[in-house]
């Protein structure tokens, strides 16, 4: 194709997205669109899978059977969501194994919040309430994104995740209304997860590299700062309701803006964790790589059995 032809196709392509048409796997798309989507979607999938680990850490120790089944179901959903997202990404011409390879080699990123440890039961509450809360804010607009398979996967994800945040909030509420010891546990978890949750919504708009292009392709509908503000505005009253204190001395309702002003985020910490120096980066990767390597002989066995079965069938037919 000549450069002019490509330019023409690109213009038509952008016009389709601007008209709110969906792009489907076999449609022509600019290479950059494909690459950007592979990057964002696989990163999203990786986050689901790595995100299973901090919560998985408490499945065997959940304090009641009711909590145990809810947590199990939630972590299982995360596996499902990773699966939907990997599948959607595969429509762009990359295999799940290649994506795993990128994750395991450190080439691909995942949400850095999962590099923090879950040290008490209250962390299950804080993650559901705050981390899932922030994730929902990020994800709901994606149900309308331009790439069809991604949008469809997100619709499924959002529908299923609706219980996740409630699950977390319920845990927090119960702790906050419990004994002083339980309330302390809840407050401590909020103190540790609050700032990482704010960071989770991404760097500030002035340093965010992908925003403009992503907006155009509907990979993003609102800027990171807007999302963060939305998250804070909706979460602060929830904390008040259950009598917990947001660990931010500068947090204050701003009448003119109709929003909360909040304190400085420690972006050094954010970049440290992104670069692999968070408290749990190494452990998380070790767990993922370990599961994959320990599973190799199992996957091979299933394939070998499938082939033998096929051969036997053919022999019988022949």
């Amino acid at each position: 194709m000549s450069e002019e032809q490509i330019k023409n196709l690109e213009e038509q392509f952008e016009a389709r997205i601007a008209r709110d048409e969906k792009i489907e796997p076999k449609d022509w798309m600019p290479e950059k669109y494909r690459k950007t989507h592979i990057r964002q979607m696989s990163q999203h999938a990786h986050s689901e899978i790595v995100g299973m680990l901090p919560e998985g850490n408490w499945i065997t120790r959940a304090p009641s059977l009711r909590r145990k089944v809810a947590l199990l179901a939630k972590v299982q959903d995360e596996a499902g969501h990773g699966l939907y997202l990997y599948s959607a990404t595969e429509t762009l011409g990359i295999s799940r194994d290649e994506m795993y390879e990128q994750l395991h080699s450190g080439k691909a990123k995942y949400s850095s919040i999962f590099n923090y440890p879950t040290i008490t039961w209250a962390d299950m509450g804080a993650i559901g309430w705050l981390v899932d809360g922030a994730a929902i804010i990020n994800q709901v607009p994606l149900c309308n994104t331009s790439y069809g398979p991604y949008a469809r996967a997100m619709i499924r994800v959002c529908k299923e995740e609706s219980f996740h945040q409630r699950q977390g909030f319920e845990i927090m509420m119960k702790l906050a209304n419990g004994t002083p010891e339980q309330k302390d546990m809840a407050q401590d978890a909020l103190n540790r997860w609050w700032w990482p949750s704010l960071m989770m919504l991404g760097p500030t708009d002035d340093v965010s590299v992908h925003t403009a292009q992503s907006m155009k392709w509907k990979l993003k509908r609102k800027s990171n700062d807007d999302l963060r503000q939305q998250f804070i505005d909706q979460t602060v009253p929830q904390a008040e309701l259950i009598g917990l204190t947001i660990p931010d001395a500068d947090l204050k309702w701003n009448e003119t803006r109709g929003s909360y002003d909040f304190g400085e985020i420690d972006w050094d910490e954010f970049w440290q964790v992104v670069k692999g120096h968070g408290p749990m980066n190494k452990e998380r990767m070790k767990a993922r790589v370990g599961a994959w390597e320990r599973g190799e002989w199992v996957r091979d066995a299933a394939m070998a059995h499938a082939e033998k079965k096929q051969e036997r069938k053919q022999k019988q037919a022949g």
Binding site: I49, M52, L53, G56, I59, T60, R61, A62, P63, S64, L65, R66, R67, K68, V69, L72, A73, V75, Q76, A79, G80, G82, L83, Y86, W121, I171, K174, L175, G178, T179, E181, Q182, A287, G290, A291, R294, G295, E296, W297, V298, R299, D300, A301, A302, M303, A304, H305, K308, K309
Partner: protein
Amino acid sequence: MKENLYNFILGIADNSLILGQRMGELCGHGPSLETDIACTNISLDLFGQVRSYFQYAAKIAGDGRTEDDIAMLRKEREYKNVLLVEQPNIDFAFTLGRQFLFDVYHLAFLSELQKSTDLTLSAIANKCIKEVSYHERFSSDWVRRLGDGTNESNQKIQEAINSLWTYTDELFHQTKADIAMVEQGIGVDVTKLKESYYMQVGQLLEEATLEIPESKWFQKGGKEGVHTEHLGYLLSDLQYMQRTYPNMEW
């Protein structure tokens, strides 16, 4: 309190509890996402069953204890599960081998329990049997796959079956409570399930190109509360919160 009935229910429920806990350990660490999700489903089914049984047991006990108290606040010697289900997840072959050896028994047990004159128990059995039929199908398929897969997988599943075999005989032992419950038409005479169990298991092992272990020595004791060393560690996880923060609600 109807002590025999209570103990009989605990005997059933503890198997699901301990096996569910073992399966739950794997969540997030399976050989593929799909398998991970499937194993978690089994764990969820088992915990669902546990809750039905313990809620009923709590009612029978009638002393204010809840399902969680019964599940998490007994001493090690008071757990009545068979030794088979507490064996650790050494690798995927052990996990699925253990599941298979239990599922075949579990399915046969539940189909008898459906006939119990205790209506609550027969109703629970009625619901559980659908779940367990699927477990049995799933674990059988995997044993077949691993047996008839690669040399490596064949060796691994054979090794797992060989090691776990010694715990199978206990499935057919009866406690005092079991016998009393059979007499009242509530329980299941597990001794009658033994022959068809070994036949069915043997058949599948053969199909999976595996050898049927020839062990003459079997371990026992779980049903009487004498466990392997593995159980203590499992319980310290299971009970951690309830022990560390007694008398709180979660």
